[in-house]
């Protein structure tokens, strides 16, 4: 008995937060579009190829999405009887508009999992203009088949990185063996991360673990994740190393991370007092300079501000879109 086939679109090519997966043997049975629209909006659409002209109609759909950003007008480009779903998301506030076309073949599905709430399917939108605002960390699902198990799994998958969530759903669809299917997901940027810990070397691994998990949930690509972990790790390491013993308060550092559209902003700040700057030309001075140089090689912009109450390193990194 053959293992049911599942597959994914190469994750490194997708905008942050988007994941796609398919199941079943017939990859040509379904189409999908993933577009970055003007203003940084994300357009997602998928459907079943039931008519010979569906490929051309799919291009027309993409054109309408690019020029109008209107999912329902885009779906009007498809032949009668074609089933499809389409959504447009504005990442900055996770507002989204969508449309559903039921068609002749299995009804498609659009569903949402908000954090700490059971996932639910969305019915046909009441009005053309209606848009939903999804809370941070929500997961939006487009699926070629309205399947109750998939909605349930979406709730579980909302605590996993988007790619992993897509895999869970396609595995379930493959098991059902109802035919080729696919899913497209969008994960809204999570609530910002903030952690404060004693500035001690033993806490550095915990910072990386928490940040790695947060970046994973947000669907940040592996390369940007590695860059960020190293930049933040380097800044946090500096805090742990240079905080002076004998200061009356325990020295702590705070790590913050937030996603704002295409930008990932991380800050590491401490409340300690830095050791006096090492003498110029000293080994210590050149090593500290390497730390900042390293951070600047990993992110798009880095600023260090030192005051009498502590030091803050702010790092800004542009993510793929």
């Amino acid at each position: 008995m053959d293992e049911p086939l599942t597959g994914a679109v190469e994750p490194t090519l997708l905008p942050r937060g988007v994941a796609v997966g398919y199941s079943g043997q017939d990859a040509g049975a379904l189409w999908h579009k993933i577009l970055t629209l003007p203003g940084g909006r994300i357009g997602l659409a998928l459907g079943r190829n039931t008519h010979p002209c569906d490929t051309e109609r799919g291009h027309a759909l993409a054109d309408v999405l690019l020029t109008t950003g209107d999912p329902r007008r885009a779906l009007d480009m498809l032949a009668t009887g074609s089933s499809a779903v389409c959504a447009v998301i504005t990442p900055a506030d996770c507002a989204m508009r969508y449309g559903i076309r039921a068609g002749d073949s299995p009804e498609p599905l659009i569903a949402v999992a908000r954090p700490r709430t059971a996932a639910e399917p969305l019915g046909a939108p009441h009005s053309t203009e209606a848009s939903l605002r999804l809370p941070p960390g929500s997961t939006l699902l487009l699926c070629s088949r309205a399947d109750g198990r998939v909605v349930g799994l979406l709730g579980e998958g909302s605590g996993e990185p988007p790619q992993r969530c897509a895999e869970m759903l396609t595995a379930s669809l493959a098991e059902a063996e109802a035919g080729p299917d696919m899913v497209a997901l969008y994960r809204c940027a999570p609530e910002p991360l903030e952690l404060t810990m004693r500035a001690e070397p033993k806490n550095l691994a915990a910072v990386r673990d928490r940040l790695r998990r947060w970046l994973g949930l947000a669907g940040v690509d592996p390369e940007s994740t590695a860059d960020t972990l190293l930049a933040v790790g380097e800044a946090a390491s500096n805090c742990s190393e240079h905080a002076v013993a004998g200061v009356s308060h325990p020295v702590e550092f705070t790590v913050r991370a937030a996603i704002d559209g295409r930008w990932l902003r991380c800050t590491v700040s401490d409340n300690g007092h830095w050791k006096p700057a090492p003498a110029p030309d000293s080994e210590a001075r050149s090593h500290r300079g390497h730390g900042i140089k390293l951070i600047k090689a990993l992110v798009d912009n880095a600023d260090v501000t030192t005051g009498e109450h502590g030091t803050t390193v702010e790092m800004l990194k542009e993510l793929r879109s």
């Binding site: 070397p201 033993k202 550095l204 691994a205 990386r208 673990d209 590695a226 860059d227 972990l229 190293l230 790790g233 380097e234 390491s237 742990s240 190393e241 090593h287 390497h290 730390g291 140089k293 390293l294 090689a297 990993l298």
Partner: protein
């Protein structure tokens, strides 16, 4: 949860220098252990090989230790071609005072 890093020492034999193979993360918390492994492996030899292909994370803390080692002996590092270690070696200049070999 991050697993503890491993620093495995292969003693010198048959003309091959001693080698330290690192698996996992090196940061400020365990850089002392890293340093001890390097010093212990070196043990009077004039050459040392450090295999970093199994390293998931390392930052300037490890680089500073490697600089000290490179000053004391003839150091060769084996690293993966992609990834941050190459960036680290370039920015710090460690690649100018040690031999770097890339291996998957």
């Amino acid at each position: 949860m991050t697993e503890p890093a491993r620093f495995d020492v292969t003693p010198a034999s048959g003309g091959q220098p001693p080698m330290v193979t690192v698996t996992g993360d090196i940061d400020l918390a365990n850089v002392g252990e890293f340093e001890s492994a390097l010093t212990g492996a070196l043990d009077g030899h004039t050459e040392l090989v450090v295999n970093l292909t199994g390293v998931r994370y390392c930052d300037s803390a490890a680089v500073r230790t490697l600089f000290t080692t490179a000053a004391a002996t003839s150091l060769t590092m084996i690293v993966r071609p992609a990834g941050h270690i190459t960036t680290l070696l370039g920015i710090s200049g460690l690649d100018r005072v040690a031999t770097v070999i890339t291996e998957e």
